[in-house]
Amino acid sequence: MREEVVVRVGAKVLTPFIIMFALYVHFHGDYSPGGGFQAGVILAAAFALLALVYGLDAVQRVLPPWFVRMCAALGVLIYAGVGVVTMLLGHNFLGYDALAHDAQRGQHYGIMAVELGVLVTVFGVMVSVFYLFAGRGRREP
């Protein structure tokens, strides 16, 4: 049997950096919207890599399927919640100016929060899809 030293060690070394990079993309994506989406994809990719190397079960122990589904749901809630908060603060839906005294800062916080929602959702959806695929092949011999 051929063992997987190379890929295993490689994945181990890479993973923390990938996670860090994902969040870096999120926090620095504010000037060009969409950071949340890319970050979600990258974060999901990190776990996909771990699952490829350590097996689905190992990853699902840390990241159970129900948790991932909730992430997908939670992101939408964050997104809509930010809108509702701005509404409660007397502005229109997603009127970020409401989030801080300084309009620019408010915009920044708002986009960051919304992108966080996007990140969490994209991460949840992507990992769910990966689980779906990775979990299916098992029934074949």
Binding site: A72, A73, G83
Partner: protein
């Protein structure tokens, strides 16, 4: 909070959808879906009231003023469609709680309600938004959740049906996004009102005409206009019953709304009818759809699929009304939007009751159900008669305006009126095939089969009674539809 009604219309189902996943119990998720869909209906009704009293309601997302930011803009047309969608959403949600027990895997039920609410959110969003790109986004939200909903059907054919719908729906959506992009390139705006103001300057350009074509084909794919309807019959036949009831009553209606909004409000009636000859393109398609699909429906043995083909034919009626290029014709279209939602909703929900008890809607399996499930089959009969267009049902009201619209045009259009009537008779044939089997054959199935539970019957009969109520008192609906038609036509072809 009342100034936020436009956004709440979308946000309430949008926020409830993920919460359904958090509530991992099927019934809790269902209860939340009911709550959300009822709130959506209340909001839609409030919006309609506001629009009727004050005219157009506008809401700027994120405080960005309209031409730049996304604007939600409600006039009488989309207020009307919102009410239709929200009504069906509110009726089907409680029905689904019981219905999915037999039609969806238990562990997928929270997912079902999530997708249901997302679909509702998408459809409401398409209707309410005043931004063309936002239309595309909501269209995809509703479509993706629709694919998921269809695939939840128990039979494996639900999967292939969903897949085919996905392929055709995505092609349609891509066509729409091409059209939207071209419009943006030409005008630099995505705001509908802005587009409507800017487009006349560039009417002559080929790009605008190409955009028009892409949008037309894309939307017609979504609304299953013959011959782009191929995805619909199987999708409706194999989806879980509440999904079929919901989709058949709302999804294609919203697509028709999109067609009206894009071609009459944004491009304008003058461009559509006088420059592009939209009526001349739609008329033959609508007629062929009505006749051929009615004919095909007659020979179906699966009643769900039978009604699905009937839906394609009924979409033909709506498009036919548009092709009259007159206020009366458009009134017929808008009325039929509402009326067809009521009748198909009632019919598919009645079928859902049948599925709940006997697990099949093959015509043979329904023999003798008239006695076993009297309320269910009575609902089916009333819905069917409405489909045929028997007076005192809503179906009659739309047929009335459709024929009136045709006769107003005089001449050869008499023949169009004749075809409408002929196909009503065909509807009678396919409806009656089922009725005859249910009432005049002896029951052959399991002896324990009895009437469907109240939790299914009450929503079903709510729609059945609506079929009758709005058939007996159609003054208000007719007036709203006529008002909406006048807004859309803006003085063109009014007679």
């Amino acid at each position: 909070m009342s100034e936020h009604l436009p956004i709440l219309q979308v946000v309430v189902p949008l926020m409830a959808a993920p919460l359904c996943i958090f509530l991992r119990k099927p019934r809790a998720a269902g209860a939340l879906a009911v709550l959300a869909s009822w709130s959506a209906l209340a909001i839609a009704l409030l919006l309609l009231r506001e629009v009727l009293s004050t005219g157009v309601v506008s809401y700027a997302i994120g405080d960005w003023p309209p031409p730049i930011g996304i604007e939600y803009r409600i006039d009488i047309v989309n207020a009307w469609v919102l009410v239709i969608v929200a009504t069906i959403g509110a009726v089907v949600a409680p029905y689904a709680i019981t219905s999915v027990e037999r039609e969806v895997d238990p562990h997928r039920i929270p997912l079902f309600f999530t997708a249901y609410l997302l679909c509702l959110c998408g459809l409401l969003g398409i209707t309410i938004t005043g931004d063309v790109f936002n239309v595309f986004v909501f269209l995809e939200i509703s479509s993706l959740s629709a694919y998921a909903l269809i695939s939840l059907g128990r039979q494996r054919r639900a999967l292939t049906a969903a897949f085919r719908y996905l392929i055709m729906g995505s092609v349609g959506a891509t066509f729409i996004v091409i059209g939207i992009g071209l419009l943006y390139v030409m005008t630099g705006t995505l705001n509908m009102a802005d587009l409507a103001a800017l487009l006349p300057e560039v009417w002559d350009s080929r790009t605008v005409k190409v955009a028009y074509g892409f949008l037309g084909v894309g939307i017609c794919l979504k609304l299953a206009l013959f011959p782009l309807h191929l995805w619909l019959p199987n999708a409706y036949a194999f989806a879980p019953s509440p999904v079929t009831a919901f989709m058949a009553s709302t999804a294609t209606k919203v697509a028709v709304y999109m067609l009206l909004r894009f071609f009459l409000s944004i491009f304008g009636g003058h461009f559509s009818f006088d420059v592009m000859g939209l009526d001349l393109v739609l008329l033959p398609l609508a007629l062929v759809a009505i006749v051929s699909m009615s004919l095909v429906a007659i020979f179906q043995v699966d009643v769900k699929r039978l009604l699905a083909y009937s839906s394609v034919a009924q979409i033909g009626y709506m498009i036919l009304g548009l092709s009259f290029a007159s206020v009366t014709g458009l009134t017929a279209t808008l009325l039929h939007l509402f009326n067809h939602a009521l009748m198909k909703g009632a019919l598919f929900m009645a079928l859902g009751c049948v599925v709940y008890r006997i697990g099949s809607v093959q015509i043979g399996a329904m023999a003798g159900l008239g006695k076993r499930m009297p309320f269910t089959m009575a609902a089916f009969v009333v819905g069917g008669l409405s489909l045929v267009g028997v007076p005192l049902t809503v179906g009659f009201v739309s047929k009335w305006y459709l024929i009136l619209g045709a006769l107003e045009k005089g001449g050869l259009w008499m023949g169009v009126a004749g075809i409408v009537l002929l196909t009503s008779v065909m509807a009678l044939v396919y409806v009656w095939r089922v009725v005859e089997v249910a009432y005049l054959r002896d029951f052959v199935g399991d002896d324990r089969v009895r009437e469907a539970p109240w939790s299914l019957l009450v929503p079903t009969w709510a729609l059945v009674l609506a079929n009758l109520y709005f058939g007996i008192d159609a003054v208000r609906t007719s007036e709203v539809a006529r008002g909406a038609a006048e807004v859309l036509m803006m003085g063109i072809g009014s007679s």
